[in-house]
């Protein structure tokens, strides 16, 4: 192999890496982005069912129910609208009614979501800014010192 040919191969190899990286990014950014809504925004927008989304609002007073062992049901509301949440698993330490909470889950219908993760105020320091902002918007974010 001549030196020229070897270098050409190297350049082609690098371009191949770059191309596959770009394809990977394009392919995955479509699949792995999670959109964030408030209950009202969810109603306004046409959100596809069976998609993973995040919802941030507060836990409606009197809506929290224990269905079975570690299975719960509650409403997330932003004063105007609400959505029912079903969740099986570990609730955060500071999950309370009338407290801000964010859930990530799969939308089953316009009014029901099956949550896979629940973030409550416990994670105050660990919340994406976008989520915090929407809680602030609805006056359910209080920084406590």
């Amino acid at each position: 192999m001549t030196l020229r040919f070897q270098r050409l191969l190297l350049i082609l190899l690098s371009l191949l890496f770059l191309l596959s990286a770009i394809l990977l990014i394009l392919f995955n950014s479509k699949k792995n982005i999670v959109f964030f809504y408030t209950p009202s925004e969810l109603l306004e927008n046409n959100v596809e069912l069976n998609k993973t989304i995040r919802i941030g609002a507060f836990v409606q007073k009197g809506s929290f129910k224990k269905i079975a062992d570690r299975t719960y049901e509650f409403n997330l509301s932003d004063k105007k609208n609400f959505i029912k949440v079903m969740y099986t698993g570990f609730l955060p330490d500071l999950f309370r009614e009338e407290q801000g909470a964010v859930i990530e889950g799969i939308l089953i219908s316009k009014k029901l979501i099956k949550a896979s993760t629940v973030y409550a105020k416990h994670d105050e320091n660990y919340m994406p800014n976008s989520i915090k902002k929407s809680l602030e918007l609805n006056e359910y974010w209080q920084r406590k010192y």
Binding site: M1, Q6, L10, L24, I33, F35, R70, D93, N125, N129
Partner: protein
């Protein structure tokens, strides 16, 4: 009073640095290089005194200092009073510039460097210091006085009340801030046109040291997150983690590029560019975290003006660095010997892969910001994106690193290739064999194969080195292989712990037993204990195997009165092969909800990182 003294020392340090800068531009006192360097050392002493003053204010709980009032409490243990000094935004920025100054202090003692080069480096370092100290004075001053008379402070964020706070930030900053020196030295090299063997050697040593410290800092952070956050994992692709990974990868590329050019003086442009990039990425990360644009576990009280200021510093420094770079572009003295598969070409491919990986992480991290600014839609890019982009991108690099150190510089031949192929074939057969008899998913297969292949290939290389000994000098010689073995171990650890993780929720009464991961776990008792500044709730669990009690785990929560927050304290049983990780949840009708993880081979992650840090430090001392 203490605050005033601290602020005074800070100002003295700034003035000294300003003097150093002006003495370089217009030298009206006709001072020699050595004298100016001597004066610049005082700046370090002043800033160190200033930093110690802040620590002192924390130790004596001087609440007339606003920063102490905001972040400390008199009932805190002494360790957290000291480390609390850098557990907040202002204090940590003071630590940032202190470390920056310490770097130039130590650098000023390095011998065998051209005097003008040393002088220019310290000059640029002083400019950087001044920029960051202005930031400190104007938007995040840790020495502000508290106007209100208070009896006690507001307390430190409970999550931070952990011994790891004492070492994680300093180690991390030794890495991040160390790149400021790399930046200054690289720029000084091209301005003074003193890019010679000395320059390469010094740059290699310092960048290897910074990289090792950054690795240590990130590793400690992972370990901390693992036991403190109580999420069962150690890496979450959180923005803060991502921004630390970017300079880490760029620094890794720099260290490897310097390895190619050792003695050859090639790739100079690329090396200077990487030196600029490392520090730029460090500042950019600081900007993303401190501005509050991205919030995460490290959220400091955020303030838009701070973000703007750091962004300004970022553009100034990066812009300046790149302009000088473009104007005084260094020329290579020799051309590089690039073949299809020699050491040089594999190192270059490795650099390309690392830069692509770095860009992919950058894209995923800032994508939500771009989308929010452009379309006002809020999105989050989570772990799955990074896992399915960054990891595949890195794969060819991992494959290459197994044999790269043994490749030749001059030819396409691999020494002892027969042994390599023999081991490779038997390893493949063995792993295929294992995968037939057990359940191995593709990723597990790839991870196991890559990890063990990297370890084996590096071992073969070590075996074939003539003149083996157990002296430190020999270890220094093979430090690259040792580091790669560390990576192999890390890969196996990551693969197993993330893919074979078992996770289970239980509801248990006290005294109840459950079986989990081949052992029986007994929930023995619940205890409540009052400590100085918090209340401790602990569940005691006993792990039994074949009716023998072989371990005891305490998992629970702490309730901190001052900030009225609860922290989860995971109970972890460490073993060479697995970690049993227990979280205690809430109580309902006498039953406690409990989450148990079985994380296999997590210990390999810490061992791998430790090996990488040690071999990096060995490389620094190598001649």
């Amino acid at each position: 009073m203490v605050s005033i003294i601290g602020f005074l020392f800070l100002c003295l340090s700034i003035i000294t640095n300003l003097f150093v800068v002006f003495a370089n531009i217009i030298n009206f006192f006709k001072l020699s290089f050595n004298k100016i360097i001597f004066i610049s050392r005082f700046a370090t002493i002043f800033i160190l005194l200033s930093f110690l003053t802040l620590i002192f204010a924390y130790i004596i709980s001087d609440f007339s200092n606003y920063n102490v009032f905001q972040n400390s409490h008199s009932s805190k243990p002494i360790l957290y009073k000291i480390s609390g000094a850098w557990g907040n935004h202002e204090g940590s920025m003071l630590m940032w510039i202190t470390i920056m100054s310490i770097y130039s202090f130590i650098f000023s003692f390095v011998k065998k460097i051209d005097e003008s080069l040393k002088f220019k480096t310290i000059f640029f370092q002083s400019i950087l210091f001044i920029l960051f100290s202005f930031y400190l004075v104007f938007v995040s001053n840790p020495f502000l006085a508290n106007n209100v008379n208070v009896s006690d402070g507001l307390g430190l964020n409970p999550v931070l009340q952990d011994p790891a706070l004492a070492i994680h930030p300093p180690a991390l900053y030794l890495g991040y801030v160390g790149y400021s020196l790399i930046f200054s030295f690289a720029i000084a090299g091209i301005v003074e046109k003193k890019i010679n063997n000395e320059w390469f050697r010094v740059l290699k040593n310092w960048s290897l040291f910074c990289w090792s410290m950054l690795t240590l800092g990130i590793g400690l952070g992972c370990y901390w997150a693992y036991y403190e956050l109580g999420w069962g994992g150690w890496w979450f692709w959180d923005p803060v983690e991502n921004v630390s990974l970017m300079p880490w990868i760029a620094g890794l590329a720099l260290v490897h590029s310097l390895f190619i050019s050792k003695g050859e003086q090639v790739l100079t442009k690329w090396i200077v560019f990487l030196s600029i990039l490392c520090f730029s990425l460090s500042i950019f990360g600081t900007f993303l975290v401190r501005s509050g644009i991205l919030t995460s576990v490290h959220s400091f009280a955020s303030d838009p003006s701070r973000g703007l200021f750091i962004l300004l510093i970022f553009f100034l420094i990066t812009g300046f660095g790149l302009t000088i770079f473009l104007l005084k572009m260094p020329e290579d003295k020799k051309s590089i010997k690039l073949l299809l598969l020699n050491k040089t070409s594999s190192l270059i491919i490795n650099n390309i892969i690392m830069i692509i990986a770095c860009l992919t992480i950058l894209l995923g991290t800032i994508y939500p910001i771009i989308i929010e600014v452009l379309t006002d839609t809020r999105i989050s890019v989570g772990g799955p994106y990074f896992n399915s982009t960054v990891l595949p991108i890195m794969l060819p690099g991992f494959l290459l690193m197994s044999i790269a150190p043994s490749l030749s510089w001059q030819t396409n031949k691999l020494k002892n290739y027969k042994y390599y192929s023999l081991v490779l074939i038997s390893l493949s057969v063995l792993i295929v064999f294992i995968s037939i008899f057990t359940y191995l998913n593709p990723w597990l297969f790839i991870g196991l194969f890559l990890g063990s292949w990297i370890i084996l290939a590096s071992l073969i290389a070590i075996i074939f080195i003539e003149k083996k000994s157990f002296k430190l000098k020999f270890l220094k010689n093979i430090n690259a292989y040792i580091a790669h073995i560390g990576v192999g171990i890390l890969i196996i650890g990551i693969t197993f712990s993330s893919l074979l993780k078992e996770e289970n929720d239980f509801s248990l009464n006290v005294g109840e037993e459950i079986s989990f991961a081949n052992s029986i776990i007994l929930f023995e008792e619940i205890t409540v204990e009052s400590k100085n500044n918090f209340q401790k709730l602990r569940g005691k669990f006993i792990i039994k195997k074949n009716d023998i009690n072989f371990a005891q785990i305490e998992a629970g929560k702490n309730y901190y009165h001052v900030s009225k927050t609860i922290t989860t304290e995971a109970g972890i049983y460490h073993d060479w092969f697995k970690d049993i990780y227990i979280l205690l949840g809430g109580q309902e009708n006498e039953k406690w909800s409990i989450k148990i993880y079985n994380n296999p081979l997590v210990s390999l992650i810490w061992i791998g990182i430790f090996i990488m840090v040690i071999s990096g430090l060995l490389g620094v001392t190598k001649k």
